[in-house]
Each structure stands twice: as structure tokens, then as C-alpha cells.
């Protein structure tokens, strides 16, 4: 069991002094994930905010071995490292036990890195892939991704005179990865740190690939105040916009269930990227989002055996 007291004492594997924005969710997620890692760990990071902000030569914020290769190949790169590990172990050339964790944003994970991720999951490498999902290509200036929510304003799904933001719902990557028949898949949030760290621990214990999709606030892209990130992340869970669940060997479990789901308007309202939804011309869009969230939640209840 992870204890908050222990966590605060642990200086962690990602040092301060990195150059991520104030209020960014990514460093919090990395910090929480690595708090529970007991073995030496090799980190692979996809090109993106986390990468460009933590390893600017000749500095690094990582107290671990670290590899960045390119944008779309964190999973295949780390699968190579993990294979080297198995080969060297098998041949008696390496004694130490290692863990392998990849971090990618939603761009590097849902979109350009999707094939490499799918390949690595299917092949069964013992590695954990953590997606910090902030719902757009934030590193290049807030372009839409397949993780961007319906209706959100981004620089490539801008709100215009005839189109009110993104026209597609986000891809359910967590379920897609589960469909690879990997032993452990989960969705998490850094506000629910205990739930998240327990999931990381579980993921590292399984003898195969694992994937955790984590909601990551981006104050720049979401147009939110820097000090409101954790609160908004909490609301995402309380509104069922970002349910917390895990899929162990194909079995769905909801790991946190709000007593009474809060309306999605509470999630949408504090975010500038959804501001236009409240304009008169766009009446009905909030309701449409609410319907979608409700449908998704019902589906999750069914998948976890809690509804017919």
C-alpha cells in the first residue's frame, strides 16, 4: 500500500528544475508513477512536451536511464531495450532486474505512435506504457488529436463561423489497448493518486505488457488557470468524463464510482477551450456532450458487469 507520508519523503526519479509549464499535469503523473517503482528503471519518452522539457542537452531531469528516439516510436524503441534485457539476462550477461516504462502524450500514443504501440502490446514485451493524455498536440501549439474531446477548440479544429470546434468524439484508446489481450490496462487520474499508484504497481507486476491512460491537464491548451489543474482533473472523474477503471485479463473493474455523477457542464465551464459551447448559436452542444458521457458510462457499467 502506498502511503502519502512515504511519497513526500521520496525525492523521486524526476528532479525539479525541468522546463515544463506551470500547472502541467505531465510531471505530476511521472512523479507519481515513478514513486512506486522499486527496481532500476529504463524510461523511454516520445517526442513531446515531456521530452523537450526534461532532457535539454547537456542536462537531464531524469535520475534514471533514459532514451528518446523519435515521436512515434517510444513503444518500439522500449521494446528493443526490453528485448536486449531479456537476451542479456538469458545469456547470463546481466544480473540486475529492471522495469521498463514509456511515456507518451496523446499525439505520440493515440495517433502517430499508435502502430508502434499496438505492435509492442501484441508482441508481449514486459513494459508499461503510460499515456499522459492532455487531449491535443500541445507541444506544437494545441492542434487537435484523436484524443481531443468533441467540440473542443484547438488550432486545427478552431471555432469558426460555420464549425464550432472538433467534430469527432475522442477515440477510446484504453479499450483498444485492452482488445490486444494484454494482461493489464487501466485509466487513471493524478488527482486520485492512490488509485493511480496502485495501478502502476499492478502494471509492473504483470508478466507482460501493460498500459495506463492518464488524464493530464494542460493549462495552455485547456485555457485553465495554472492552479486549478488538479481540481479540474478531479471534476473529470466526478462527471464520468474520465472514468477510473482497470481491465485485468479482459475483466473490467471500475475502481472509483462517483456517488452521484456531477453534470458535464462543471467540467466544461472552467475551460476556455469549451467557451463557445455556451454561446447562443451553439445551444444543445453541452447536452450532446452529456448524452455521450452518459452512453459511455452505461457501456462501462455493462462491461464491468454492473448493468444489464
Amino acid at each position: 500500500m502506498v502511503k502519502l507520508k512515504d511519497l513526500t519523503k521520496n525525492k523521486g526519479l524526476l528532479s525539479g528544475g525541468h522546463r515544463l509549464c506551470q500547472g502541467c499535469g505531465a510531471s505530476v503523473i511521472v512523479h507519481q508513477a515513478l514513486q512506486v517503482v522499486e527496481n532500476p528503471v529504463v524510461i523511454a519518452v516520445a517526442t513531446g512536451c515531456l521530452e523537450v522539457s526534461t532532457t535539454i542537452y547537456p542536462f537531464t531531469a531524469w535520475r534514471t536511464s533514459f532514451i528518446h528516439n523519435a515521436f512515434e516510436n517510444a513503444a518500439s524503441t522500449l521494446s528493443g531495450v526490453e528485448t536486449a534485457y531479456r537476451s542479456l539476462k538469458k545469456q547470463g550477461k546481466l544480473a540486475a532486474d529492471y522495469n521498463f516504462i514509456a511515456f507518451g502524450g496523446d499525439g505520440g500514443t493515440y495517433d502517430i505512435g499508435f502502430q508502434a504501440l499496438s505492435g509492442a502490446m501484441e508482441r508481449g514485451h514486459r513494459l508499461l506504457y503510460i499515456c499522459y493524455d492532455n487531449g491535443a498536440y500541445m507541444n506544437t501549439g494545441i492542434q487537435r488529436s484523436s484524443a481531443t474531446p468533441w467540440g473542443a477548440n484547438t488550432t486545427t479544429s478552431p471555432v469558426g463561423k460555420v464549425i464550432p470546434g472538433k467534430k469527432q468524439y475522442r477515440k477510446e484508446l484504453t479499450e483498444i489497448i485492452a482488445a490486444h489481450n494484454v494482461p493489464y490496462v487501466a485509466q487513471a487520474s493524478p488527482y486520485h493518486w492512490k488509485d493511480f499508484s496502485r495501478k502502476v504497481k499492478k502494471a509492473l507486476e504483470v508478466a507482460g505488457p501493460s498500459f495506463i491512460n492518464v488524464l493530464s491537464v494542460c493549462p495552455r491548451g485547456w485555457r485553465t488557470a495554472e492552479n486549478k489543474g488538479m481540481e479540474i482533473t478531479k471534476i473529470a472523474v466526478e462527471t464520468n468524463v474520465w472514468p477510473l477503471y482497470e481491465i485485468e485479463d479482459g475483466e473490467y473493474h471500475i475502481t472509483y464510482k462517483p456517488k452521484k455523477a456531477r453534470p458535464v457542464i462543471e467540467w466544461l465551464k472552467p475551460q476556455g477551450r469549451f467557451k463557445h459551447l455556451f454561446a447562443e448559436a451553439n445551444t444543445g452542444m453541452v447536452e450532446q456532450i452529456q448524452q455521450h458521457v452518459n452512453r459511455r458510462w452505461q457501456k462501462l457499467l455493462k462491461l464491468s458487469g454492473q448493468a444489464q
Partner: protein, 393 residues
């Protein structure tokens, strides 16, 4: 030393990889390289290698996983052809700039489009500026020998760069030849136990691969890659000498054939040069002073040695099995003209772009090309600088 055996080019490559026994191979099948991947998979399935084989879902992931494995302290290899190499392209550059000693056989095939599976060098030439060393070989024996030597060259601490070992698709990959493989133990002794310079899996220190490298250092790091290639010029010869002592087979930057008193000569790469050797023999019987250079090392380009080798040649034909679409000749032609620009002699040069998409070139074609060079020598004029040889126009 072991006996002579009959193998296809692909079988020879797979055998070399088996004897090297790399820690990791990550590869994706593509015609005409496919057989290499299949044979190697069988070696893994039969437990005759220690290698962990990564059955990646694409060549992009093949190179990515190979980079990861190499950074993880493994001796790591892959192999590809044509479009596979093109799909790897981004990571091919990263492998070189990361200074990873990866060896990759490339079974040369025309790069799409239009799609074509047969031999030319457009795939390798597309990667000529990636920072890899590029070796070419005339036949299965050369491909086999080059793979073994490439490992030593790549891993040499003064080089630390990946090496591409090129072999002509189908013409060599699918044709059976007699080759003399080395004994397993000789190869083990020759290549030695792999000691990575820096490993992600070094329990004594953490290692960072692939940091963001901005205006302050990027240029210096690119310059260091050039240093590595400069050192490679020496290392290629040293390893070649060592290999000669072991096998009696002689490898340097290039093979000079009947060049010493030659007046006209061809320079080119790979299997065509075997046919050209026969053309030289035929012309010599007529008293024509023909010779050739069979170039083995294309990257780095052995400028000084070529200047010396070509100093007495009157007319040189440059054989390119790829085009640059610059309207200024093929890739080898560009290198050769650049090499000889300051030479200060009266050497005439003619470029022949030939064999694209596997278009055959035979003995009489090559004799014909030599006769064209002879004509240039006799009347002192190059009628057409860049010639598309063997194409219907």
C-alpha cells in the same frame, strides 16, 4: 576455415548473422530480403542462436527496436530492402547520430514508385547522407565477408557508427553461388565479445540517449559524426587486412582490376562489376587497355585513394544504378566528378545510368560501353555526359 558450400546471397547473409549470433535482431520481411528474416527466424526457433528476435510490425519499428536494443547494450542487427529502408529513414539518421554500431544488410531493390521488386541502388542511395557507412559487394561471398567485417568497423571505438551492407537483390540474393564461409569459432574470435560503450542497462550508471540538442551543441555533435567517418577510412583498411590474414580474401576501399596500364576504365558498384571484369578480359584480348574499379566503400567516400588509382586513366565511365534527378548525373558520378575536379589532368568522364528496376545489363552491353569510352579517348570528345543506358527512348 570451412569448406566451400553453395548458397544463395540471402542464405549467405543469414548464415553470417547466425554465426555473429547477435543479442537482438529486429526485422520485418520485405522482398527480396524476406528469406534472410525467414531463415533467421528458423535459427531462433531451433535454438541455434542466443538471439532474441523481435517480430516488429514495420520497418520503422525494426529500426526503432534495433536502436533501443543497441542503446540497451546489445549487439543488435536488422535487415531490409527498398521501401523498408525508406520507411526506416527517420530512424536511420537517428541511429547514426546516436553513434550506435548497428549492422544492417540491405538487399538492394528499386524504390517505389512505380512499385518494382528488382535490383537497383535507389534504396541505398536514398540513405547515402544519413551518416551510415555503406559497403557494397559484388557477390554472395563479398556480402558475407562484408557483414562480418562491418561488425568490427561499426563497433570500433574510433568509429561507433552503423554500417549498411549492400547486396544486389535477386541477382545475388536469389542466385546460388559457391561461397567459403568461416568456421563459427573463427568468426567468434574475429568479432570478439561485444562491449558496449554506454548502455541503458549498466547497473553502475544511468545513461541518457537522445536528449534535445539545440543550437549550443548540435553542430559539434554532427561534426563528431564526421570525425567517426574520417577514422573509419583507416579502420576499414585495418579490419580488411586482419580479415585477409584470416581468409586470404582481400578487401579495401575498392578492387582495382587490370587498372595499372589501363587507358579507359569503368567504376561502379556491386554485381555489375563482376560482368564488367569479364568485359575487360575480352577487350584486353583485342589489345584494348581497359580496366575497372569495383567500389566497395561508398560512405565514407575514399577520395584520396581514388585520385591515386585514377591518375593515369584517360577516359572513365561511371556506372550508376540509381538517378539523382538533378539532371546532372547519378550519385556515384557526382562523387567522382567532385573527387577529380581539382585533379588537374585531362581525364574525361562519362556517366551511365543503367539497370533501373532490374533492367538487365549483360556482357555485350558492358563491352559496348567500353567501346564508347574508347571512342571518347580517340576523338577527345564526350558526346553525351549523362547517358541513360538500356532504356527505350
Amino acid at each position: 576455415m570451412s569448406e566451400q558450400i553453395a548458397l544463395t546471397g540471402n542464405e549467405a547473409l543469414a548464415l553470417a548473422m547466425k554465426q555473429i549470433n547477435p543479442d537482438v535482431v529486429a526485422a520485418y520481411p520485405i522482398t527480396p530480403q524476406t528469406e534472410v528474416v525467414q531463415l533467421f527466424s528458423q535459427f531462433v526457433a531451433d535454438g541455434v542462436v542466443d538471439t532474441e528476435f523481435v517480430t516488429v510490425e514495420s520497418e520503422h519499428s525494426a529500426m526503432s527496436a534495433t536502436v533501443g536494443a543497441s542503446a540497451g547494450g546489445a549487439r543488435a542487427m536488422t535487415a531490409t530492402s527498398a521501401n523498408g529502408l525508406a520507411l526506416m529513414w527517420e530512424i536511420v539518421y537517428i541511429a547514426a547520430s546516436t553513434r550506435l554500431p548497428i549492422v544492417m544488410p540491405v538487399v538492394n531493390r528499386a524504390l517505389s514508385g512505380p512499385i518494382n521488386i528488382h535490383c537497383d541502388h535507389s534504396d541505398a542511395m536514398g540513405a547515402r547522407d544519413s551518416g551510415w557507412l555503406q559497403l557494397f559487394g559484388e557477390n554472395a561471398q563479398a556480402a558475407y565477408d562484408n557483414v562480418i567485417q562491418a561488425l568490427r568497423i561499426a563497433e570500433h571505438r574510433d568509429v561507433m557508427l552503423p554500417v549498411m551492407v549492400n547486396m544486389d537483390g535477386f541477382i545475388i540474393s536469389h542466385a546460388v553461388e559457391n561461397i567459403k564461409p568461416l568456421a563459427d569459432q573463427d568468426i567468434r574470435d574475429f568479432i570478439g565479445e561485444y562491449q558496449p560503450a554506454y548502455s541503458l542497462l549498466d547497473p553502475d550508471q544511468t545513461t541518457t540517449y537522445g536528449p534535445l540538442d539545440l543550437q549550443d551543441f548540435y553542430f559539434e555533435h554532427k561534426r563528431q559524426q564526421v570525425d567517426g567517418l574520417e577514422h573509419a577510412l583507416e579502420v576499414v583498411l585495418d579490419i580488411g587486412r586482419e580479415f585477409y590474414q584470416l581468409t586470404g580474401r582481400d578487401y579495401g576501399y575498392f578492387e582495382k582490376y587490370r587498372l595499372d596500364d589501363a587507358e579507359i576504365a569503368l567504376i561502379g558498384l556491386a554485381s555489375t562489376m563482376g560482368t564488367a571484369r569479364e568485359a575487360v578480359n575480352n577487350l584486353r584480348k583485342e589489345g584494348i587497355k581497359a580496366g575497372l574499379i569495383n567500389l566497395r566503400l561508398f560512405r565514407p567516400f575514399p577520395v584520396q585513394a581514388l585520385r591515386e588509382a585514377l591518375q593515369d586513366i584517360k577516359v572513365l565511365g561511371v556506372m550508376d544504378r540509381a538517378d539523382t534527378f538533378s539532371l546532372n548525373g547519378g550519385p556515384l558520378f557526382g562523387e567522382i566528378r567532385n573527387t577529380l575536379f581539382d585533379f588537374g589532368n585531362k581525364l574525361k568522364i562519362v556517366n551511365y545510368i543503367y539497370g533501373l528496376g532490374g533492367r538487365d545489363i549483360n556482357l555485350s552491353d558492358l563491352e559496348g560501353i567500353f567501346r564508347q569510352l574508347l571512342e571518347v579517348k580517340e576523338n577527345g570528345k564526350v558526346k553525351q555526359l549523362v547517358n541513360y543506358y538500356g532504356v527505350r527512348e
